[in-house]
Structure formats: structure tokens, C-alpha cells
Symmetry: C2
Subunit: 294 residues, 2 copies
Amino acid sequence: MRSLSNAVYGFAGLGLMGGSFAKAIRAKLLDEPGASGKIFALDTNKATLGAAVERGIADQTFEPDCAALMLKQCDVVFICLYPSTTIDFLKTYRDDFKSGALVSDISGVKMGVMGALLDILREDVDFICGHPMAGSEKEGFYHSSEYLFEGRNYILMPHKANKPENLDFFKSLAGALGFSRITETDYLSHDHKIAFTSQLCHVIASALVESAEDTKITAFGGGSFEDLTRIAMINAPLWTELFLANRGELLSHIETFKLSLEKISALIAVSDSNGLCEFLEAVRLKRTAMSMLC
Amino acid sequence: MRSLSNAVYGFAGLGLMGGSFAKAIRAKLLDEPGASGKIFALDTNKATLGAAVERGIADQTFEPDCAALMLKQCDVVFICLYPSTTIDFLKTYRDDFKSGALVSDISGVKMGVMGALLDILREDVDFICGHPMAGSEKEGFYHSSEYLFEGRNYILMPHKANKPENLDFFKSLAGALGFSRITETDYLSHDHKIAFTSQLCHVIASALVESAEDTKITAFGGGSFEDLTRIAMINAPLWTELFLANRGELLSHIETFKLSLEKISALIAVSDSNGLCEFLEAVRLKRTAMSMLC
């Protein structure tokens, strides 16, 4: 029976996320005594593949034209690509996965991915739709880290074809890699909630930076502006794709946010000291309650 | 001649900010061999005063009705109160400061403070208007820290009556306490810029929390929402005062931010992939340039 430390893990895409998964699996599972598992990696960037081998992360690497050769050998495959590329990859290599393989993705928007996939998934390959809630404003394998997932949320969207033993295996894997909370939901709910916690925040951070008079304003920073806008050092093509793939949900959350912004602005505009203090006190309690749940 | 390590420092208000100044002065200046300086503290909270003595931070403490007794002995006084209370304090105890004393405040909005003060300041007391750009969502002496100012900005707004030697003394003090950059400006410019880097950020964070459907949303958080809203665990009365004291500037920045939000929303609404990617790429470059200046 396949165990966490003797499985063959394959990575399609070895950037920040793929690299962090591979490093965490290497450090937490495969460097243990008795572990016989392996890590295979596929990427378009030869330098990344070279670095992954040199640093002892990948046992073997593959260039894109050898994807099928890699996939045939992998028990667990992480597709760590952009959402649209994830769909293309799964379609292109549909017939090349090992029978019984467990496949997962990291895409930040799910309806598009699942809508495209449900028709083409093979019965003998278990696709577990996942969203590891971790990232960085710094991209690429060079910035990946075995610690990226420590204490983070992992959202899983099981579908009826998923085998319970594969879901259990995947949850054990997530725990071993450092994730502290696994939340199961459906694609619709995921996209609705992620549009708020992730995409809306990136929209706000980007708008805030755009509205800055000049770059020298940070001489007047005390940490708030820096914290609110760190994510504005954004991977523009990736987030363009994410925003547009979840456009409806995102626009709806932007509208709701604008209403709240109007509320607080109105209280300031009329110098309603009591109303403003009540608004802020309610916000403080709400955010503190969220903190308890983090 | 007065030196950093032999001055008597007085604190009016020993909360997060006053406590952090006192702890940093104790650790970085007065615990050094040969130092003969002292720390005196005044607060309405007896438990705070007791803790400050017990922890070896304050040499002597004073309750509010003994403020004059403390002020008479202090070479350097930090008034670490809310903006309106700062003005009241300076008016009430105008005649009690030691001749030659250097007095500073921490108020986050300056026009009101300076407008009220310029007429009542004594010629033999040097008031150096300052804004230490540091803070925390956690309040009070218990959360204060000698490290709060490490690597932070300190904004000073000298006026023509300030003696150059006192300004030099104050800048040396700021450097010794860990501040990494001192920016000199005028009150108008300060209030304009702080309304952006600080108050607007608190407004946005508060509006974002208010717009959240429920507190359980953090199970879907990946760090962005948490980073954007940590400051929404806000001290409601203090920020009510700060928002209203800088109302005009703040409302103007809110309007500018709303325009930027409209721009990016419009690009998303019409699925303008190229336009959105260009917008985000420009934001990325702008924020990265700011990071270089941090």
C-alpha cells in the first residue's frame, strides 16, 4: 500500500508553489529514515530543473516534451500551473497518468477548472481539487520554501468520484506538510469566498498603490500602508487571469466593499463622532473574533 | 551639558507609545554604565504606574494631581496622549515645565495641535513636534516594547523657535532608540501624507472587515485578508479623533482611492485582459520602487 514516504510525487510546474510543495515533501517525508519515495519534476525552465536536482529536491527532472514519461511513474501529481494552463495540461496528458494516480491542482479559481474537467477526468485517476492558501509576493522556485505552508489553510473541494482512501491520504499529506486547517467545501462556495479573502484584497491593495501620489510616500509609512500593499507587488499575468476567471464574484464583493467604504466616509464627512466610534468598535470586535478563529 | 544618558525623562501617558519610549530609553541609554538619567512617569492608571516601577522602567511615578511636581524635574518630556488631550495637557501645565525643557508629542495629526499651541508655548521651553511612525493593534503599557521603534520612520516638524542644539539632541535620541529614518517636514505636509499612509489605510481595513459576510471567512484566508485588516483591531476612540481631526485630507484621499478602485473595477467588468495586466504591472513596479525606499 502507498504511504506518504514511499510514494512517487510528480510536479508539473516548479515555481513558488510547486517548489514549496516539493521542498516540504523532501524535508518532512522523504529525508526520513526508511523513506523510499521520489520527487520528479517537470518545468519549462531548465535552470529551475537544474537547481532542483542540485539542491537535492528532485530525483529526476523532465522537460515538457517528456511529460508523459514522468506522469506514467507518479503516484501523486501536483499541477502547479496557472488556472488556464492547468486545464490544458490535464486535457493534453489525460491518457498519460498512471492508473490509480492521485492528482491535485493549486488553482485559485475553481469553477472554470472543474467545469472543464469533469467531462475529461478518467475513472481510474482521482483528481482532488485543492487550494493551498499560501503564497508570496516573490515568485519562482528560488523563493519557494519548505515552510510556506506552516500554519496555513488548505481548502479541498472533494467531488463524488473521489475515493475516501485517497482523500484521507491527501489530508494526511497536507498535515505532514504543515497545513493547520483543512476546510472542505464546494467549488461555488470556494470561488465566492476566495473572491473576498484573496482577490478583493489584491484589487484593494493595487488600487491603493495606484492612488499614491509618488513612491517617496513610504518615508511617511508606519507599517500600515506597507502591510496593506505588500501583495501589490503582484504577478500581473497570473492575477489578471484569476480576477477575470472569477469576475462575477469579485465584482460583487467590490460593490459590497464600496458600500462599507461609503458608510464610513459618510460618518467622517458629517463629523459624526459617535457613529464613527460605534462603526469602528463593531469592526474591532468583528476582526478580533476573526483573529480567534485564525 | 545634558547628554542622552544623564537627562531626566518624563512621560505624560504610559500606554503603548509612552511605555515603548520609556522601555527603549531604559534599555538603550539608562542601563549603560555611567548613566545617571532617570525616568519619571505620569498616568491615570495606577496599575500601569506600579508595573512600570516593578519592572524597573520608571524610577518614580506620579498620579495626575502631581503632574506639576514631575514636570518641574524633567529635561525631556514626552506627551504620549490622544491629540486633544495633548493640547489640554500642554495648556494646563504650561507654567510647570522646567525652564530649558525639551517637550515632544506623538500626536498623529498636527494642524490642530500646532494651531492651538503656537500661541501658548513658552519661550524657554522647546516644543519639538514629532510623529513616531510605529504602533500596534494591541494597546497599553503591557504591550509596549523597547523594540517598537526599530527600523521605523520618525517625522519631525521643527518650527522656527526650535533651538538647533535641541533638535540635534532629539535626533540623536531618536537614533539611539532605533528609528532608522528621520524626515523633517511641515505640519500641512505631514497631515496630508499621513492621511494617506495611515488614516486611509485604517479606513480601508475597517471597511473591508465591515463588508465581510461573517467572521468564519478566515478559514478561507491565505494571509492577504489578515495582513490588510490587522489594523482593523482598532482603538476606536483614538481613531475617531484622528479621522475627524484630519477630515479634509482624509476625505480627499478616500476620493482618490475610490477613483483608482473604479479604474481597476472597470477593467475587470469589461474583461479587459490587456488593460488589467498593464494596470497591475504598473502597480507592481510602483510598489516595488517604494519597497526599495523603505
